[in-house]
């Protein structure tokens, strides 16, 4: 899995701190955020004797450690795939929390287009979550700004300002799964047929199956430029479509997809 073993970068994070204190004596490692707290606890667990100090306001279970990692990795530029405007992690949402794909990508079973959730949909959950998330995650802050909120930063803490609807603006995601202009693909037919989304959006036909719900950051799966990325994802090629259609005795008439 790409990027799975990526360590947290930046100063203040556990590794760099540990580098300064090889044998763990000297001043304690102080967590500067809930996420750091998670990392330090982990460090302490694997290196007994490391002195760590976690201020009470950071001593919280949520946001969970995995959330922290996903947030980090979703914006990890060393991983392949385009940088999205928000460090959204499918792994975190669809993987850990097992939110069904169609909860957000609604209408996929009715429409040819899969549809991308509106900001409202995101806020449906994130509107409920504790402000710690805003404090911890830039992603959340960006999301809420798209919803029309703004923030004031008084020394380190982000203060959420009430929503101003006029400031709301759509999120401009970078499209990663792309079909050529001349292909008419109908999601609803394939969903109704009971296809696993990963058949196309991941890749199940190989040793280590790639599933969207395992990815913090999605690969770019272009129609033509696949050779630029040696990725384990499906290349959305005609031959591959046809193969599946043949196996499932679906229509192989050209006019089914090209018109």
């Amino acid at each position: 899995m790409v990027g799975a073993s990526i360590a947290l970068p930046e100063a203040g994070s556990a590794e760099s701190a540990e580098a300064e204190h090889p044998n763990g004596d000297g001043p304690a490692l102080v967590a500067g955020s809930i996420c750091e707290a998670h990392e330090l606890r982990a460090l302490a667990a694997e290196r007994p004797g490391t002195r760590i100090e976690i201020p009470p306001q950071y001593n919280k279970p949520y946001p969970s450690r995995s959330a922290c990692r996903s947030h980090e990795l979703a914006w990890d530029d060393s991983a392949p795939g385009p940088r999205q405007p928000i460090p959204f992690s499918h792994k975190h949402h669809a993987g850990e929390y097992e939110i069904p794909c169609q909860y957000c990508h609604s209408g996929t079973d009715r429409s040819q287009a899969a549809g991308v959730p509106s900001v409202e949909t995101c806020m449906g959950c994130h509107g409920q979550l504790a402000l710690d998330y805003d404090q911890e995650f830039e992603g959340i802050r960006i999301l809420k700004e798209h919803w029309g909120h703004s923030y004031v930063n008084d020394n380190g803490t982000w203060k959420l300002q009430p929503r101003d609807e006029s400031k709301a603006k759509p999120i401009q995601w970078v499209q990663v799964h792309r079909l050529p202009e001349h292909v008419q693909f109908r999601h609803n037919r394939h969903v109704k047929r009971g296809l696993d989304c990963n058949q196309c959006h991941g890749n199940l036909r190989q040793e280590a199956p790639v599933k969207v719900e395992d990815l913090d950051k999605l690969y770019l799966v272009p129609d033509t430029l696949w050779w630029k990325y040696g990725l384990p994802t499906q290349k959305l090629e005609m031959g591959w479509c046809i193969k599946c259609h043949r196996e499932n005795e679906a229509s192989q008439d050209c006019l089914t997809c090209h018109y």
Binding site: G107, S111, Q112, S118, H146, A168, L255
Partner: protein, 1003 residues
């Protein structure tokens, strides 16, 4: 490429317009832009349909606006609407272009000191207007078209509140003469409504109701209904009286080529004959002057026998209807002519039966030409300081001789609310752009009992404001809030509809309670009208007939590319003006098509290429109204809003400013002198010849043959043509019948097929427009049209008679043979839509090297654009010549401005160098398949409606599954009139044409 292409469009899910996808060359990045808040009813990828109302002409047809992801992509007819009942004409469909038009104003603008327009904020603009009005309220006038009852009332209240000089409602084609004639005859001014549905004889005294009538879609439908060959004695007979073979005349069974303006005389004489035959009181007729057939014939330039025959036919008919002269026939004596026709109707008992004199809807704005002329005087006298022009382009559409242009200079402050640039707006000091109809609220009441709603189908794309709101806010800015209704126009609209269920009205498109017609009023003999010749001004051998272009209407259609691109249904000329002269005149003057003539009247002079025709009187020249704009992307030769060379000429520049007896506008007013200039301009003629050379195209059969026994064949779907051989006077007659259902895969339940009834097709070209807009077909402009590079997938071929076989092009007609086989007084015009025949044995298929075109299991002749390499062999081998080639990358350059936002996401935009053609709207077939598959059933009959079929006002096109012997199309396919185009080539076409029926007008 910074333009949005189709795919981006699909992806731009409802985001604010103009958000373009940044696409680099090497590594394209495409954005997915979801809603902030996704509206309940919208699911990306599924069209949402809103009911609204068409504003392209006063007919007020109901619209179904198909939107995708918040964008209107296609206009269709509202099936519930009583006027158009689900169909829509070419003009109505093209109206969608106004919303995305590159000529649109981005926001309010003012004329700077340098004379150039500079943007300003709305409140600035409004306060500016406010102070201008306050400076001289009584000098303020509002001039504009009909904006519907509610908006109209707002305008009126604004006028009264501000104490403005007045409001002048202006509509160049307002039927004032007709209204006046009813007042003169029956004492109450009403515009009669003519119902042709049940008529058995329709005599059209120059109304051209199929070209530009009060409601072309409705009349076409009614005519088709009355014309059904299964009706008693084989359907209605249509007689046309008029100087030229217009579209209506082309569809007539008999054409009486009377002198222009003499329709009234003919009608009156015919009435006398009819009364003599039936017996009845002719006193009412005498009030218009006693006209004997003989002297009417002499004055109308036809022979007396014809009028006698016409009169007897009218007397003999069970339900005859006579239609009064239309725009082209409005002369100084328009009221008298109209009265004559009305009296004829009355004498035949049609009034109250098929001619309805309903009371007019309350608050119907009444356009008066005389008022407009008075305003011009006032302007000239300097009494007008502020002129607010809305929903009209008077500078273009008023006769130049009226001096409106000069008068405009005398007006201190001209305000235009045009949403896109036109002649008048170009002269305005302040521009307060209105929404386009698709962005606006509003209502219309085309006739009493039919209240139709407009609702926004897209968020305004630019910083525009509804006219009513503009006026209300201005009034408030003047501190007149108290005297004006409170709230926005939308709230006012709801109040206006408070009497009815507004939500339901929104869903259905309005409130339709057609009224029963009142009883027939009795004509008063006191009318002081004299039926007489038109009294034309000026010298010259020719009467100048200025007739409305059936696509450009009064000129408002000129800036819509599709209306320019679709050739005129009669002459097949696109993108240009032309002057029609008779073939005889042309021979006398040694003219061939394209020679530039100078046409001169007392009012002006224009130079325009000539088109010789058989179908026009020798003493007449005719020019269509509609071209000759100097502003706009498509209307003029200028690319942007800048002043530019005009496209074609405006015949209105030739007309003296003359009114009829009632002060209504007269168009038939001038004599013309015609001289050769020696210049030549190649006309964009989209049909090379109307001589079908007896080939199996556009067939016609005499009624006797159709009614006669022995030719019918009962058997199921697709078998036809065989035993018709003998009945076609045609060496391409069917050789052997074939079973079209055998042309799809045996496992497939479908064999898609079509039937086209030439007896119903009027040639109106609504289907062509529908095809353009449904299938993202590019327009190629004048230059492309001249080179016959048009891309339309369906074209209407117009043949005259069986044709004749001549082996040499007459050299004087140049390298292209010209249409010229019309004969004065004869109508044997066959309008035959030609589109891909989806052949069972398609000649195009075997010759395509990469198999880009192939036969699909359901019998369609598939065209796979992305597999095509453009050898163009398929087109060579296609006998119907329905394949088109992408000469350039139209997908890049063909949709300027925001036009690309209205592309149909379900149809691939074809790239450079590939062939394209009709595939029976396969995207609609596949859409219908979704529902069927979900329910696990086959697609039912009538579930798939092709774009052309949907639009056709006369329901001439049928589409369905030939394998289902119960389907409508199979049944029609078995009609004894059925034949296949060029049958002898045995292409096993899936389209069955039903031959036109030629009927005699018995007497």
């Amino acid at each position: 490429m910074s333009e949005l292409d189709r795919r981006d469009f699909l992806k731009l899910v409802g985001a604010s317009a103009g958000a373009a996808a940044a696409v680099g060359c090497s590594d394209p990045v495409e954005k997915l832009i979801p809603y902030v808040v996704q509206p309940e009813e919208i699911t990306p990828g599924i069209p949402v349909i809103y009911a609204s109302t068409c504003r392209e002409c006063p007919a007020g047809c109901g619209l179904h606006v198909r939107t995708r992801e918040g964008r209107p992509v296609k206009l269709e007819g509202n099936p519930e609407h009583p006027v158009n009942q689900g169909t829509l004409c070419a003009r109505g469909q093209s109206g969608i272009g106004r919303t995305y038009h590159p000529d649109r104003f981005a926001g309010p603008m003012r004329r700077g000191p340098g004379g150039e327009l500079e943007p300003l904020a709305w409140d600035e603009a409004l306060s500016l207007l406010a102070e201008k009005i306050q400076a001289n309220p009584s000098g303020t006038y509002v001039l504009g078209g009909d904006v519907g009852p509610t908006a109209g009332s707002v305008v009126d209240r604004f006028v009264t509140a501000t104490g403005a000089g007045g409001r002048v409602v202006y509509d160049p084609f307002a039927p004032e003469a007709l209204r006046e004639s009813t007042r003169a005859l029956f004492g109450q001014a009403r515009v009669p409504r003519f119902d042709l549905s049940d008529a058995d004889l329709v005599v059209d005294f120059g109304s051209d109701f199929l070209d530009v009538g009060p409601a072309p879609t409705e009349h076409a439908r009614q005519l088709a209904q009355a014309r059904d060959v299964h009706n008693e004695n084989g359907g209605v007979r249509l007689v046309h009286v008029g100087p030229r073979l217009s579209m209506t005349a082309s569809n007539a069974d008999e054409w009486i080529p009377a002198k222009p303006g003499s329709e009234g005389l003919v009608a009156l004489a015919a009435a006398h004959v009819a009364l003599r035959e039936r017996g009845g009181d002719a006193s009412a007729l005498r009030s218009l002057g006693h006209v004997t057939p003989a002297d009417a014939a002499a004055r109308a330039g036809v022979d007396a026998a014809t009028i006698e025959r016409l009169g007897r036919a009218l007397a003999a008919a069970k339900r005859p209807v006579a239609l009064p002269p239309g725009v082209a026939g409005w002369s100084r004596r328009a009221v008298a002519s109209a009265a004559a026709v009305l009296l004829l109707n009355h004498a035949l008992g049609a009034v109250g039966r098929d001619v309805h004199l309903e009371r007019e809807p309350a608050g119907r704005a009444r356009a008066s030409h005389r008022e407009a002329l008075r305003l011009v005087e006032a302007m000239n006298s300097g009494a007008v300081s502020v002129l607010i022009v809305h929903d009209a382009d008077p500078l273009y559409s008023l006769p130049a001789a009226s001096g409106f242009g000069k008068a405009l200079e005398k007006v201190d402050f001209v305000v235009s609310t045009a949403s896109m640039v036109d002649e008048t707006a170009a002269r305005a000091d302040l521009i307060l752009p209105d929404h386009t109809p698709l962005e606006s609220w509003g209502d219309a009441e085309p006739r009493v009992g039919v209240r139709s709603l407009l609702q926004p189908t897209i968020r305004p794309l630019f910083d525009t404001r509804a006219l009513a709101d503009t006026l209300l806010d201005t009034g408030r800015a003047m501190g007149l809030g108290g005297q004006l209704p409170s709230g926005s126009f939308r709230t006012l609209l709801e109040q206006a509809w408070s009497g009815s269920d507004f939500r339901n009205a929104l869903a259905r498109g309005g409130e339709f309670r057609p009224q029963a017609s009142g009883s027939a009023p009795v004509p008063s003999a006191s009318a002081m009208l004299q039926v007489a010749e038109p009294m034309l001004e000026g010298e010259g051998d020719f009467a100048l007939v200025a007739y409305p272009h059936s696509l450009l209407y009064d000129g408002r259609g000129a800036n819509l590319p599709w209306l320019q691109e679709i050739p005129d249904p009669v002459t097949k000329v696109a993108w240009q003006s032309w002057v029609e002269v008779s073939q005889a005149t042309a021979d006398k003057m040694g003219l061939k098509a394209g020679d530039v003539l100078a046409v001169e009247t007392s009012a002006g002079r224009v130079e325009v290429p000539v088109l010789p025709r058989g179908g026009i009187r020798d003493d007449v020249v005719a020019i269509a109204i509609g071209q000759g704009h100097s502003r706009g992307h498509y209307a003029s030769l200028a690319g942007d809003g800048q002043p530019g060379e005009t496209r074609g000429v405006s015949v209105l520049a030739l007309l003296p400013s003359v009114t009829d007896e009632s002060g209504g506008r007269a168009f038939l007013t001038a004599r013309a002198r015609v001289t050769k200039t020696g210049g030549f301009q190649r006309l964009p003629l989209l049909q090379s010849t109307d001589n079908k050379r007896k080939r199996m195209l556009g067939e016609a059969l005499p009624l006797a043959v159709v009614k006669g026994e022995g030719h019918g064949d009962g058997h199921a779907g697709g078998h036809h043509g065989a035993d018709l051989g003998p009945v076609y006077a045609n060496e391409h007659a069917p050789i052997e019948a074939y079973d079209a259902t055998a042309d799809s895969h045996e496992d497939s339940p479908y064999r898609w097929g079509m039937s086209i009834d030439l007896d119903k097709c009027t040639g109106c070209s609504a289907c062509v427009a529908a095809c353009y807009l449904e299938n993202n077909i590019p327009v190629v402009g004048e230059e492309g049209s001249v080179r016959a590079r048009q891309m339309s997938w369906i074209r209407i071929e117009r043949f005259v008679g069986e044709g004749y076989i001549e082996y040499v092009d007459a050299p004087e007609r140049g390298r292209r043979p010209q249409p010229s086989n019309e004969v004065l007084g004869k109508t044997d015009v066959r309008n035959s839509p030609m589109l891909c025949q989806q052949c069972g044995a398609a000649p195009c298929e075997p010759v395509c090297p990469p198999i880009a075109t192939y036969h699909n299991p359901e019998g369609l002749n598939g065209m796979i654009y992305n597999r095509c390499i453009g050898t163009r062999y398929c087109s060579n081998n296609c006998p119907y010549k329905v394949r088109r080639f992408n000469y350039f990358d139209y997908s890049q350059f063909n949709w300027p401005g925001l036009f690309n936002l209205m592309l149909n996401p379900d149809v691939t935009v074809r790239g450079q160098g590939v062939m394209e053609k009709c595939t029976f709207c396969v995207q609609r077939i596949n859409a219908a398949r979704q529902g069927a598959k979900d329910e696990g059933r086959p697609i039912g009959d009538g579930e798939v409606v092709t774009a052309c079929q949907q639009a056709c006002p006369s329901h001439a096109i049928g589409f369905g599954n030939l394998k289902d012997s119960g389907s409508a199309v199979s049944k029609l396919g078995d009609d004894k009139r059925g034949y296949h185009a060029l049958h002898s080539l045995n292409t096993r076409s899936a389209i069955t044409y039903l031959a036109k029926v030629t009927r005699d007008v018995e007497s």
